[in-house]
């Protein structure tokens, strides 16, 4: 094989070796890991809620979008010409990392509000989980429309110097050499590293802190946990906060990489996140992480002439895995409660 040697060849030759090229392989792996990291963080938001309440929060995609807009607002950027808040901006912008953190906190608080408005009233009445699915979908539609009402459908992007705290950054880092460049966008590498950090912190929190242990106890058996003195309502709220926080962070990270493409830009991620948790195993935290990276990598390795079908391919992969392992890759078989 002509690994890494494509310079000066005819296009036909280049096309033929293109798919087998080692540089390309490395490049697509890094691309896949970067997007996979974001999928993982985002899907963890779904997983946390599912593991505690056994329901899917369909407003998670909208919270993802909201987190990106919160960060944009807090960074002191002005809105466009359409929407009620046309041309408005905060008088003072926060430094980007702080805006991102605070944006995620606000997204988390929105998660708590959604729990109060769409989940708790149904839960206290012991409603069918399917109804909760619908009410969370209603919240998603509401949030997306409110965003458009307030700030229009325009595309927004974070200031070019958003990451200036890290010093002057090149737009891409070359993993090859002069003649045979293997460039990977710097922002994707940053996102990948940042995702790993978030995943590490969350794993520590769940496994080694008192609060994390309480959360795990509730997810095992909510009734027994409350008999043991764990304040279930508080921990459910905490779960929604964490879920919203993770969704908000993921939204900002994606916005940083590809801009905020309007109020609807979380919808595709909402679906992808569902695929990730089903693939990894519903309610399994390591499953969400593994699922995120698998789907990210699978998308990156879709052959060049099929790239536009990468979503379809990701879901086909999901389908095949479910045929073999109906509970997902890391899902545990649960005890059927009658």
């Amino acid at each position: 094989m002509l690994y890494g040697d494509g310079v000066g060849r005819t296009s036909v030759c280049l096309d033929k070796i293109g798919d087998m090229n080692f540089g390309l392989l490395l490049q697509q792996t890094l691309n896949g890991l970067a997007i996979g990291g974001v999928y993982a963080i985002f899907a963890l938001g779904y997983t946390l809620v599912f593991s505690i309440l056994r329901i899917i929060n369909l407003s998670h995609g909208a919270i993802f979008t909201l987190g990106a807009y919160f960060t944009y607002t807090l960074a002191g950027e002005a809105f466009g010409f359409n929407g009620v808040l046309a041309r408005a901006a905060l008088p003072l912008g926060l430094p980007f990392p702080l805006a991102m953190l605070l944006g995620a906190v606000l997204a988390g608080l929105t998660g708590v509000l959604i729990e109060r408005a769409a989940f708790r009233p149904l839960r206290t009445r012991n409603a069918d989980p399917l109804l909760t699915l619908v009410s969370s979908l209603g919240m998603a539609v509401l949030i997306v429309n409110v965003i458009q009402f307030l700030v229009g459908a325009e595309i927004y992007s974070y200031p070019a110097n958003a990451l200036s705290i890290l010093g002057p950054l090149p737009t891409a880092i070359n993993f090859g050499n002069e003649t045979n460049a293997i460039p990977v966008r710097t922002i994707q590498i940053i996102i990948f590293i940042f995702s790993l950090v978030i995943l590490a912190i969350l794993t520590y929190f769940i496994n080694y802190t008192r609060m994390g242990k309480a959360l795990r106890a509730i997810s095992e058996d909510a009734v027994t946990a409350s008999l043991l003195g764990i304040n279930t309502d508080f921990f459910i709220m905490l779960t929604f906060f964490l879920s919203g926080f993770l969704g908000g962070i993921a939204g900002t990270l994606v916005g940083l990489s590809v801009s905020i493409a309007g109020p609807y830009f979380g919808i595709a991620f909402g679906l992808k996140g569902l695929a990730v948790i089903v693939l990894g195993g519903m309610g399994s935290i390591p499953g969400a992480v593994v699922g995120g990276f698998i789907i990210g990598l699978a998308e990156a390795f879709v052959p060049a002439n099929m790239v536009a079908y990468k979503d379809a391919i990701a879901f086909a992969l999901l389908f095949i895995v479910l045929l073999v392992r109906p509970r997902g890759l890391l899902g545990r078989s649960g005890v059927q409660k009658v």
Binding site: A127, V146, T171, A261
Partner: protein
């Protein structure tokens, strides 16, 4: 169980309410109180009598709203502009807006509302060619004239007798952009093409571009990449394109996806020329590709620099409101309203509109547009229509984006 049912009902009612509150409902447009009065408005021309209703069915929600919002602005400016100049021989004109959103069903609903409920004489819309192929048939069946403000795919006027457009088809202006690129770099030999395969217009546009590259200009097409308009991550396509070592990249998509592809190509080190199709023909791509938008070539059906009285008036009204030069989509929406107004005026001068039924008025209006051979002096320059309803536009343009140092603002500079 009853309580749950009640709660569900309440939730749905609330969601519906929220949607109704947020989606711009079918209202007649407030005639742009913020728009500055055009400098040349003739004094003392006033309108009276029942207004004549023209429907505007464009995307005010969904990701297509980026383009639709520009069309709404253009149409509202036209409404105010022509009413200040006496409307339709003294009768005021009133626009009725229906949101099509970004899909086919939304466009069909908007058309049906305008035809049956709002009873308009003609419709300007929809935003996307993809939507036009579904919705226009309903107007054709009801014999209501349609002017496509931005449908540039091949085959739109051929949908039916009542379907015309003011947007010059992609076949006319796309080749100009490739020739402009050759003027900037005489050594272009290898060309890469990328297009959004879920969009009818992008498919039609890329076909024209690819034919121009291979058949007309005999250049080498080194790779063809596809994507979806909803995609955001283009590293795979960008990597494939760069590895094919092109001298020119041609992108057919919409603002958000196309802009991201432009940015990611530049981020990964592509240094050659790029052409953006009609979907990238909007300043809305600035926040997406930022500094990387610089030097992107975009074929244009409209130039704000056009030296004519109507364009100067339109530009002044637009700039007073939006603080920037008008984009093509606003100019085309203005033009579509203008064609309806002038055609109605011409009919009224021959036999009074007030004596006609709605059906008669619709049929006469269509006849006037496609058979009179009338010429219209519009912000796009002089246009006319052939018997199929296809627009005949004299001039097309090519612009190159120049971004300012801040990387956030820029402008389309028109190439000579």
């Amino acid at each position: 169980m009853k309580r749950v049912r009640f709660l569900l009902l309440a939730l749905f009612a609330f969601t519906l309410l929220a949607l109704a509150a947020c989606a711009p409902a079918a209202t007649t447009a407030p005639s742009g109180t913020s728009a500055a009065p055009a400098a040349t408005a003739p004094a003392g021309s006033s309108t009276s009598g029942d207004p004549i209703l023209i429907g505007i069915a464009v995307a005010q929600t969904s990701n297509t709203a980026l383009l639709g919002q520009e069309q709404v602005i253009g149409a509202k400016i036209a409404e105010k502009f022509f009413n200040e100049r006496g409307g339709i021989n003294g009768r005021p004109l009133k626009l009725v807006f229906q949101d099509t959103a970004g899909d086919e069903q939304g466009a069909i609903n908007a058309f049906q509302n305008l035809i049956n409920k709002d009873k308009v004489v003609g419709i300007v819309g929809p935003t996307l060619s993809q939507q036009a192929f579904s919705a226009d048939k309903f107007a054709e069946e009801a014999k209501v004239p349609v002017l496509g403000p931005s449908n540039t795919a091949v085959g739109i006027p051929q949908i039916g007798e009542y379907i015309s457009r003011v947007s010059v088809p992609v076949t006319v202006f796309a080749p100009g952009a490739v020739k402009a690129a050759q003027k900037l770099n005489a050594n272009i030999k290898r060309v890469a093409v990328a297009w959004a395969q879920n969009d009818a217009f992008s498919k039609s546009e890329t076909g024209v571009f690819q034919n121009t590259v291979t058949d007309t200009l005999k250049l080498e097409l080194v790779t063809v990449q596809t994507f979806q308009t909803t995609d955001t991550d283009f590293t795979t396509q960008a990597t494939n394109i760069i590895n094919a070592k092109p001298d020119l990249v041609i992108i057919s998509g919409l603002a958000s996806d196309g802009g991201n592809l432009v940015k990611q190509l530049r981020d990964l080190g592509y240094k050659g020329l790029m052409i953006g199709g009609n979907g990238l023909n909007t300043s809305n791509i600035y926040p997406v590709c930022k500094a990387a938008c610089d030097s992107l070539l975009v074929a244009q059906a409209y130039s704000p620099e056009l030296d004519s009285q109507i364009n100067k008036d339109f530009r002044a009204a637009y700039e007073a409101e939006q603080k920037k030069a008008p984009p093509q989509f606003s100019a085309q929406a203005f033009t579509a309203v203008q064609v309806f107004v002038e055609a109605l005026k011409a009919i009224d001068s021959k036999s009074k509109l007030s004596g006609m039924s709605l059906d008669q008025m619709r049929q006469e209006l269509n006849k006037q547009i496609i058979t009179s051979g009338a010429k219209y002096q519009t912000p796009l320059g002089e246009i006319a229509f052939d018997k199929e309803g296809e627009v005949i536009q004299k001039a097309t343009y090519v612009a190159q984006i120049k971004m300012n140092a801040d990387g956030a603002t820029g402008k389309f500079e028109f190439l000579k």
